[in-house]
Symmetry: none
DNA sequence: TATGAATGAGTATTCATTCAT
DNA sequence: CATGAATGAATACTCATTCAT
C-alpha cells in the first residue's frame, strides 16, 4: 500500500508537468520521447507510469476536471459589492492566466481527440463545466445567472485573443477589457 | 498539349477544403493520406500542389488572413441603431459559425506550430486582426472602440464554449448570450 | 517507314545525351524527371521514346557496345614504330577522355544493375571487349598480345584515378604515366 | 540499467558490413530496408545508429580512408629484390581482391554523390591516396616514384576489368597481367 | 524501478509510370 | 507527337511501444 502511494504521487506529478508540454506542442505533434525528455525521465519510465500516449491525455483531462477551480473558493475572500467579487474572480483568473490558457489548449486537443475516436461526450467534462458554473454562481451572486456564462465566455475569449499575440501592449489591453466587463455587468 | 488545369485556382480550392480537415483532426494528428482522401485526390496529386504538409498549414493561414471578413461588408446592410448593427454582425457571425470555429482551431494549430518552429510572429496574422478590427470599428460605429475588441473576445469565447459542447440546448444558449451582449453594449 | 527513321534517329540522339546524365548521377540516383529535364523534354516525351528507365540503361549499354571504337580505326594513321602506334592510340583515348570515363561509369552501373536482376552475362558486353581487343591487336601489332590487355588495364586505371581527383597537376601526371607505359612496353 | 551495448563499436561493425551491400547494389539503388535486412536489424535500429542513408555512405568512406592499408605493412615481410617486394604487394592485393573491388565501387558512388551535392573535394579522400602512395613508396623502394603510381593505376584497372567479367579464365588472366607488370617494372 | 536499445507499423515524401488533352 | 497532371506503390525516416538488462 505505501508503495502505491509513492507511485501514484509521482504519477500525478508527472501528469501535471505534462499539461505545459501538451499545450506548447499539441497532443498530435508531441512525441513520447519529447514528453519523456520534458519530464526528465526515460521513455521506459514514462511507460512505467502511463500505458500509452493516449492515456496521458485522458488522465490529464480527467485530472483537471476533478481538480476544478475548487482551490480558488477555498481562499477567495467574500466581498460586499458585485463588482468587487467580479474583480476578485477575474484577478484570480489572470493570476493563473498561463494555467488556464494551457487548460484551454488541452480542451481543444481533447475535443479533437474525442471526435477522432468517436467517443461520446465524456461525462466528466460536462460535470466540470457544471461544477465551475455552479461555483461561480454561488460566489458571484449575480442577479442574472446568464451573466455567469457571459463571464466564462469572456474569459475563454480573452485567453484565445492573447494566444494570437497582441504583443507589447497586451497587459494593458487585458486590463482594459477586464474593466469593461466589470463595468458592463455591474451597471446592468 | 497538357491536361488543362488552372493550377493556382485548383490549389486554392484544395486549400479551402483543407480547413475543415485540419479543424476536425488537428494539424499534428491528421496524415497526408487522410488529407488526400478527404480531398478526393491521391497523395501524389496533393504533393503536386503543395510541397509539404507544413506548407499546407502555412498557405491556409495566409490565405485566410488575406481573405479576411471582407465578404461580410460587401453585403452588410447599414442600420440606424447601434444595437441593430451589432445584431447584424453577430447574425452574420453565427450564420458562418462553423467556418469561424474551424478558423479558430486553425489559429491554435498555427500558434503551436509557430512556437515549435521558433518562427517570429507572422506579420500577416497581425495585419489580419488589425484589419478585422478596423472594419468592425468602421461598420459598428460604437462610441467606445474598446467595445469592438470586447465583441471579438465574446465571439471567440462563444466559439470555444460551443466546442466544449453544451449539447442539446446549445442554440438557445447562444441566442441568450448574444442578446445579453447586445443589451449590455447597447445600454452602455 | 520514313517516320520510323526520324523517330529512331531522335531516340538515338536522346540516348547519347543520356550517357553524360547517367555518368554524372548514377543510374540509381537519377530520376526520370531529371533525365527528361536534362534532355530538354517532358517526361511524357521521354516515355514516348523509351518504355522504362531500365530500358534506357540497357539500350545505352547496347548502343555503346555496338559503336565500339570503330570510329578510331577509321581515322587512325598507321605508323612504323610500335611506340608511335601506342602513342597514337593513347592520344586518341585521352582526346576522348570524358567519353571513356562516362562509359566506364556506365559499365559499373550496368554491372550492378545486372547483378541485381540476376541477368546472366550480357553477350554484347563480352563481344564488345573481344572486338575492342581484336582491333587493338590488329592495329598495335605488339609482339605479345597480353600487352594489349595491359594497355586496356592501364587505360581503365587511369580513368579511375582521375575520378578520385588528383586536382591541379592532373594533366601532367597523366602524361607522365602515359609516357611511362609507352617506355615500358616499347623497351620490352 | 539499460541494455549494455557499446554503441560506437556496434556502429562500426554495421558500417563494415555496409561496404559489401553498397558495392553490390550501388548507393542509389539500395534501399534502407535492404540495408537493414542485409545487416540483420530493423530499419529502426539502423536509424538508431545512423541518422540517414547519406550519413552511412559518408561515414563508410571516411572510415575506409582512415583505415587505409596500414594492416598490410604491419605484416608485410621485407624482401631483397624489387621484383619480390612487388610480388608481395600484389599478392596481398589479390588476396584482398574482393575488398578492394568493393572499395573501388564505393569511391565511384561517393564521387557521384559528392558531385551531386556540390561538396568540394573531401580532404580525407586526398589524404587517403597520399598516405597509400607514401606507404607504397616506402615499402617498394622503386628507383622511380612514378612507378608506384603506375602500380596503383594497374591495380585499379585490374579491378575494373574483372568487374566486366572475363568469366572462366579470369584467374589465369590476372596472373598473366600481374607477371607482366612485375617483369616490366623489374627490367626497367 | 529505470534505462535506452530494438522493433516494425506508420508517416511524409518521392518517383516511375500512365493518360487525358 | 508532346505535355505535364495524376496515380499509388515504394522510399526514407519517425515514433509509439516493448523488453533485456
Amino acid at each position: 500500500m505505501p508503495k502505491i502511494v509513492d507511485h501514484d504521487r509521482y504519477r500525478k506529478e508527472l501528469l501535471n508537468q505534462c499539461l505545459a508540454l501538451f499545450a506548447a506542442q499539441g497532443y498530435g505533434s508531441i512525441t513520447m520521447r519529447q514528453i519523456a525528455q520534458g519530464l526528465g525521465v526515460s521513455t521506459g519510465t514514462l511507460y512505467h507510469y502511463f500505458p500509452s500516449k493516449e492515456s496521458i491525455l485522458e488522465q490529464l483531462v480527467q485530472d483537471l476536471c476533478e481538480q476544478g477551480i475548487t482551490d480558488f473558493f477555498a481562499q477567495a475572500p467574500p466581498a460586499e459589492r458585485v463588482g468587487d467579487r467580479l474583480r476578485i474572480v477575474i484577478e484570480f483568473f489572470l493570476a493563473h492566466y498561463r494555467f488556464y490558457q494551457q487548460q484551454l489548449l488541452l480542451w481543444v486537443d481533447f475535443h479533437q481527440h474525442s471526435q477522432r475516436k468517436g467517443t461520446e461526450r465524456q461525462a466528466f467534462l460536462q460535470r466540470f463545466w457544471q461544477r465551475t458554473h455552479a461555483q461561480l454562481v454561488a460566489y458571484l451572486q449575480l442577479p442574472n445567472p446568464a451573466h455567469v456564462d457571459f463571464v466564462l465566455v469572456f474569459m475563454d475569449g480573452l485567453l484565445l485573443q492573447c494566444l494570437y499575440e497582441r504583443g507589447e501592449a497586451e497587459a494593458d489591453w487585458v486590463t482594459q477589457q477586464t474593466e469593461l466587463l466589470i463595468a458592463l455587468l455591474d451597471s446592468a
